[in-house]
């Protein structure tokens, strides 16, 4: 993917009635970069994601995709630029995995149309790329949480967009699947050149991506503001974690033979005000 799609937020703000969720966010997401938005539960990450996707309209400021205000773009036009991986996918009807993935082609189908053979080929090829072809005919309501999340990520790939937005992609996953999903994310960025915007409440995920040698920008959503703090190594300091999360931590570095230096945050206690 070489299309240079830029995403810009200009003084973006959103409030539900009188309750301001975030405000004055000005930010440029560069093509091919990865933005990790950290913040505790309820800090407004999901609302920010929804605003990027055009689901919520900003109450202040604007969001531009390639210089165009998303207020003037149709859901289909936005969906050809931004794909979304949801946090909790509620399953209501048993569809086959293939049928769910085909939905990634919605933005490319006619108003009264269905996806065609070309779309099916894209789905099958993308599944094969991740060695998950065996899932194609499985009932997706019977997939495990980790498999579901992988399917959601593959659906975003099938959507064929330069930018992918993920909201807590590893919430509710077990130990191994969490890593599987993170590894898949690394693959998207490294091999497919996707621009990624990921909201997470686990600061260690930013370190995981950095440990894999990716270029990550970290922003903390805190008290309605997005504080951009640079790379994970610069951003995830004990001062910042104390300020934004209210948790006292220590940052551990460890050298492994295989991967070189890796970093992790160890929480110690919640910050006790002196």
């Amino acid at each position: 993917m070489v299309t240079m799609t830029s995403l810009t937020l200009n003084n973006a703000g959103f409030s539900y009635g009188d309750t301001s969720i975030f405000k004055n966010i000005t930010l440029e997401v560069h093509p091919g970069s990865t933005l990790c938005i950290l913040g505790p539960n309820g800090s407004g990450k999901t609302t920010l994601m929804d605003a990027l996707l055009g689901i919520h309209r900003l109450t202040h400021g604007s969001i531009y995709i390639n210089g165009k205000d998303i207020r003037h773009l149709s859901p289909g036009q936005i969906a050809r630029v931004l794909a979304f991986v949801p946090q909790n996918h509620a399953k209501h009807f048993s569809f086959s995995v293939r049928d769910v993935l085909l939905m990634g082609r919605s933005a490319y189908t006619h108003t009264f149309g269905s996806p065609g053979p070309k779309d099916l080929r894209i789905v099958d090829a993308t599944l094969a790329q991740f060695n998950l072809s065996h899932l194609a005919h499985r009932d997706y309501t019977r997939l495990s949480g980790g498999e579901t999340q992988l399917v959601m990520i593959i659906r975003a790939l099938v959507q064929d967009t330069p930018i992918i937005v993920m909201d807590e992609p590893t919430a509710h996953l077990d130990f191994k699947h969490e890593i599987t999903v993170l590894e898949t994310i690394v693959r998207l960025i490294r091999n497919q050149g996707k621009t990624l915007i990921m909201a997470t409440h686990f600061p260690n995920h930013a370190f995981f991506l950095e440990n894999q040698g990716l270029d990550i920008e970290v922003g903390f959503l805190h008290r309605e503001q997005l504080h951009m703090e640079g790379s994970p190594s610069d951003a995830l300091t004990w001062e910042n974690l104390r300020r934004y999360y209210g948790v006292d931590t220590c940052i551990m570095e460890y050298n492994t033979q295989k991967t070189g230096k890796i970093k992790q945050i160890f929480p110690i206690s919640t910050t006790k005000e002196a």
Binding site: A79, H92, S114
Partner: protein, 332 residues
């Protein structure tokens, strides 16, 4: 190829059932009599005018209308279930049936001529759905849930109004007419019904066929459907308009036939799975078959016709249980 076979089955079975049903009825016609009429029509022979009248003007329109009504109610139910992501809703979910019932009862009381029942039931069916929409506008919360809730409220208000009309109706002639209408019947079927009520039924059904795949996407939830590129509000409005037209068209000529719009979609789900690309056509076919069969039984069972609403529940219930046992709810 499998898809072609699928569609051939969907067309063949109701056609066969309709063909068989033409031989059934209260008036004693032998198989030979019916064949005489059918061949007579094709070959332009002289046929017994009584026999001709019964086959062509009583039995045939009834079968055609039954198939259309069954198909319309089923397809609307399937579309609503998918779109509202709720397997318990049916074609009457947004109050169409109760609204139409009220309209019919009102017309039966106000006018002497039965004709007024059709525009009144159709019109009040649409008004009920419109009221649901207005209720849905009062909150900014999840519109699907408010709509479902609005349907429950509007439905119960109209049910109360129907009870009121029954209470004030003349117990000698108006009350029985209202009660009978509310239980559903195809006994008044004629070609005018097929032509006039057929317009909203067929238009609505075609509209739902056109968006059948989009219903899959809508079943993912509003937020995901929009992020996948669907104009959710526009599609939701379109589905509601189509399903309302089809249901109101069906109800105004047949009365309230319950159960079909809830259960036939589930029969479809068990047989074809939840992919609306197959489910929607399957529901059209199964709904048509189901009502043709039920109406055959209604004509044959007792000397005075059993109302359809009673039979659909009595027959549909056990058949549904049988299907549940047979398929073990697979794919469902």
């Amino acid at each position: 190829m499998r898809l072609t076979r699928f569609y051939i089955i969907l067309v063949t079975i109701p056609a066969l059932l309709a063909g068989i049903s033409i031989f059934f009825g209260r008036y004693p016609l032998t198989i030979e009599n019916v064949f005489n009429v059918l061949f007579g029509l094709v070959l332009n022979h002289n046929v017994d005018p009584t026999h001709l009248g019964i086959v062509v003007h009583i039995r045939l329109p009834r079968i055609i209308l039954g198939a259309m009504v069954g198909a319309s109610l089923s397809v609307s139910g399937a579309a609503f279930q998918g779109m509202f992501r709720n397997p318990l809703v049916s074609s009457g979910m947004l109050g169409v049936s109760s609204g139409a019932g009220f309209g019919a009862a009102l017309a039966l009381i106000l006018f002497d001529h039965f004709f007024w029942v059709y525009p009144f039931s159709f019109g009040f069916g649409l008004i009920a759905v419109l009221l649901c929409f207005i209720i849905g506008r009062f909150t900014s919360a999840n519109q699907s849930i408010t709509l479902v809730l609005g349907g429950v409220i509007v439905g119960s208000v109209f049910s109360a109004l129907i009870s009121f009309l029954k209470y004030v109706a003349d117990p000698m002639d108006e009350l029985p007419a209202i009660v009978f209408w509310l239980m559903g019947s195809l006994s008044r079927a004629d070609y005018t019904h097929i032509l006039v009520a057929g317009i909203p039924m067929i238009a609505g059904t075609i509209g739902l066929i056109a968006v059948k795949w989009k219903l899959n996407v809508l079943a993912m939830g509003d937020r995901e459907a929009q992020s996948l590129g669907l104009n959710v509000k526009a599609y939701r409005l379109f589905v509601i308009i189509c399903a309302t037209l089809a249901t109101a068209g069906a109800v105004c000529v047949s009365g309230v036939i319950g159960w079909i719009g809830l259960v036939v979609p589930h029969m479809g789900r068990m047989l074809t799975g939840n992919d609306n690309r197959r489910l929607i056509p399957a529901c059209i076919s199964i709904g048509a078959c189901f009502l043709i069969i039920v109406d055959d039984i209604s004509r044959l069972l007792t000397s005075s016709e059993m109302p359809l609403g009673i039979l659909t529940s009595i027959l549909g219930g056990p058949f549904f249980i049988y299907l549940l046992k047979k398929t073990k709810g697979r794919q469902w």
